[in-house]
Symmetry: C2
Subunit: 214 residues, 2 copies
């Protein structure tokens, strides 16, 4: 255990161990799994599907990711990090609250219909119906959806505080409305709706924005 390591002990996140190095990149494999889960859902994606798309063997899979369910957890995190950034970006953006939601809904129309990704949203439409054995996965997804709505509500509350919205605004109800609309748009996208059609839905959704006079 003399500190004469070859290069550095752990230069960043890259592990420089002693044994044989892996012949795949963890992040790349994870993204492949994410796309597959996104496209097919949790139990629509089999072990063999996963190892095939990730380009690794069953044993590599198991001692790198632990289990299918653990991988799904990581895939969700990867989704939020890699493909779901637009959601949080729109909420964090400068400018008025209405402009933020306008941008959010417009971004959803674009992101749900990218031809380099599966249609719709990985989380919005996942595990809404499932067998008793997958109740943990369902609760995980339901929790993520609740958190998304909570993020919307937080932004709306800030809008009320900033004077962008009437004092009488029910931020939780309005957040639930926009959250519902986003999820419905995700289903439409999955069923093949065009970007323009989603953009229209988003535009109509903004007509429900609380009036100053309300």
């Amino acid at each position: 255990m003399t500190p004469k390591k070859s290069g550095g002990p752990k230069p960043g996140g890259e592990r420089r161990g002693r044994g044989r190095p892996a012949c795949f990149e963890r992040e790349t494999a994870l993204c492949a799994a994410m796309r597959l889960f996104w496209e097919r859902g949790y139990d629509g994606t089999s072990f063999d599907d996963l190892t095939g798309a990730m380009g690794i063997s069953a044993s590599s899979f198991y001692n790198t990711f632990g289990s299918k369910e653990a991988l799904y957890h990581e895939a969700i995190e990867a989704y939020l990090r890699v493909a779901g950034g637009w959601f949080f970006d729109a909420l964090a953006r400068e400018g008025g609250t209405r402009a933020a939601f306008d941008a959010l809904m417009a971004a959803a129309a674009v992101e749900f219909t990218r031809d380099d990704q599966p249609a719709g949203c990985m989380i919005s439409t996942a595990a809404t119906q499932c067998s008793p054995g997958q109740v943990r996965v369902r609760d995980l997804l339901a929790g993520q959806r609740t958190r998304a709505d909570a993020a919307l509500a937080t932004r709306l509350e800030r809008g009320v505080a900033d004077g962008d919205l009437p004092e009488s605004t029910d931020a939780n109800a309005l957040a639930a409305f926009y959250g519902s609309l986003l999820r419905g748009m995700a289903v439409q996208a999955r069923d093949g709706a065009s970007r323009e059609r989603l953009r229209e839905i988003a535009r109509i959704g903004m007509l429900a924005w609380p009036d100053e006079g309300a």
Copy 2:
């Protein structure tokens, strides 16, 4: 093979055959299957789950309904007939177009949160993500959703013709908006949202109704 049939060949729909009568009612068993599919989805529901809930054996199942997929088709029809009537009733109701959609959205909030039924909608949230092997089921569901949106659009077009909506109204886009919102509400219901919360979402959705002045 003498043509001396017993009495009447098929008096109505009630089959009075010669052999042993079934010890279960077809409709009752079908409804039990519908509820199970509604709660757990197509592949979240196993053969054994079904036969158990329906109270019949595997062979009775097979020669009464043909296959799991054929039963699912029948369950969808049963859903539309038994539990989905409110949708078409609201669209067919007397009065203005806006009142019809108001009633529709209010009914959705009620129907999605009945304690004598699974939460949400059997069709809205089903098979949005699935394996390649279940593409037929997915297309069936997507088709039903498309038909629902088409029904909304037809009613809206009538509204335009009746003068209830501005000539400039894009009926297809507006139908897609309300269709999306309904599906999002179904997801919320599945995640445990209360009837009052859904009622609020529906109310906000009606704020997007086209202005006469638009």
